[in-house]
Symmetry: none
Subunit: 198 residues, 4 copies
């Protein structure tokens, strides 16, 4: 079947995406060259165009892959039968672990590239929105169950995600704090922000 070929191609694509994501996160879109991505995979830059239409396409699919990973994580958290407090704590921890893991990609690519077509942009933003909404839903759950303060959900979520996304700017794998410690502290403080005081 051709599905064999297709599978092989998909695998290669994944490989490229992973490599590309790493470089892209480190150097930014403009600072990353096709050659650099290719070199890391022992390919030539010409070959990349067999798998991706162009650099923007590559970046776009990078975003999609990363967002998919994130969504997977948060869905699991959301669908668990924990309390809202537990869910928010887990969502925060999951986010941080993803953002600091060696695969370390993530929302790192803060601004979906300016070169993106409307189509591409819409797609990424949609996923991002879905991701955000999971947080909103968790927060809403907490408010309804009266364990969270009656906060402005959007504001609270923006503060939380902002705090989380900033981690990549300063996180150092060899720094004094482990990802585990960081995620503990972040979860604790951010929860305190919205948990209802007895």
């Amino acid at each position: 079947m051709s599905s064999f070929r297709a599978q092989k191609m998909a695998k290669k694509k994944q490989e490229i995406l992973r490599s590309a994501a790493a470089v892209l996160i480190e150097k930014g879109y403009q600072g990353t060259t096709m050659e650099e991505i290719a070199a890391k995979l022992l390919m030539t830059k010409g070959s990349m165009y067999y798998y991706f239409k162009n650099k923007d396409d590559l970046l776009h699919q990078c975003h999609l892959m990363i967002m998919e990973l994130c969504l997977e994580g948060i869905e699991t958290v959301f669908n668990s039968d924990c309390t809202p407090i537990e869910k928010l704590r887990n969502a925060i921890k999951e986010h941080i672990l993803l953002a600091t893991s060696e695969k370390s990609m993530f929302m790192a690519l803060a601004k979906p590239n300016h070169n993106f077509s409307d189509e591409q942009l819409k797609e990424v933003l949609e996923l991002r929105k879905i991701y955000s909404q999971y947080f909103d839903r968790i927060i809403n759950e907490g408010i309804e169950k009266q364990v969270f303060e009656n906060v402005d959900v959007k504001m609270a979520r923006l503060i939380i995600l902002g705090a989380l996304n900033w981690i990549q700017e300063w996180y150092d794998q060899d720094g004094p704090q482990s990802a585990e410690e960081i995620s503990d502290a972040y979860a604790r403080y951010l929860l305190k922000m919205i948990i209802k005081e007895k």
Copy 2:
């Protein structure tokens, strides 16, 4: 006096820096071209080299100018005789106002560029550190006076600054929330995170 000329040149430099900061924030270092900076001022890119040695110099001074503005703001806040709670609230508000003002520059330039010389990098990071330390000192004051929880100061500060710096990623001058409203909400929630409950 020649100081007249010098003054005029300084003014032009400021003008260029402001224009550069705007582009820089929107497009990032690599995405910013000398031509675009110049075009916004109805100049030609060649002219920029009369005022700045090169792109890195221009961008470096951009960082310095922005950080200076920030430092001015926080110093005033810190040296006022408010309570730690008031100080933190004001620091947060000031930061947001700067980040959303039309002059809109700021720490936007998350990662001082890779091309920077060690000298330049050190200079910017130093200023950034000073800025951060003001927050640390405010938080410490609050802990000492027992109005803040006994938090990990560094973590708390990172959460706060992360939340604040993310605003630029989504803030829209014509959006539903005014900068005023945003800064109110942010201050309230972030303060709740560290204020000691009675």
Copy 3:
């Protein structure tokens, strides 16, 4: 084998070097543009960077190629079993033929460029020194065999090479004198300068 590709690349490099040498000799280092070199070969300047790291690299290799050609010629002359007189005559003629041949490059590049790295400069000067020394050795041989006057070898050599290198400044392929005639005259007069009179 990959040696096929390598060979093809080497050939192209040679081609480019020859073109570059021609322009270089005519216009000097600063006057030579990558575009002009490329245009002569119906290439675009961007392509040159596939073969050479940068302009300095290209020009440096130009020097090396030219010097190699010169050294080949003089080595053959020196290692022949002619008398010193014959050797000097042949060395002069060989030099002129090279300098006036259509491949016309040569020591034309009087001053190895200022932009050259120390490494590059050293390399070129070393080759140049070797070339000069062949002349010195021929002259010394003549002195020892008492067919040449007891001249200051360095001075004599400088006079000879100076006279030879000047030819490119005025030689015109379509001028009244053929390269052959010129080299005859030069050899005769320059020899008379140092040959011992009976």
Copy 4:
């Protein structure tokens, strides 16, 4: 009278030319910037355009000034009542002294620039021809008086001038040989080349 103004201007021109010649000889036409020339005279580059139409004009007048100096020297030598041998010796020495003097300009500017207008080129070449002809005339005198061999005058002159002009390529004010020693050696050897043997 306006001749006062004119005189002052002429003086300034001379000053600029001298400074320009020094830089031009050291760095070549393309390597020399108007700014550099101006800076040496504590002027701004814009001011140079009051005295010279453009860079080519400046270079052109440089050539003229230099050639004038050379012509002065050789005329004096030629019109003296020395023997042809003495005259040639003196011409050679004079040439070398000029070429190595601290004012060190001279035919250094080997190739009248490519940008020169036909008019400018013609003018320089004309002066250069006159200079050459003085050598020819001296040589001819020597032949007629039977103190020189019956050489091809043009060839002999080209050899001599070539040898002389090469000196600038290697002469080092702080080198082992003084200009005096060099000119002695050059005169001796070059004369031997054409003097009739008894």
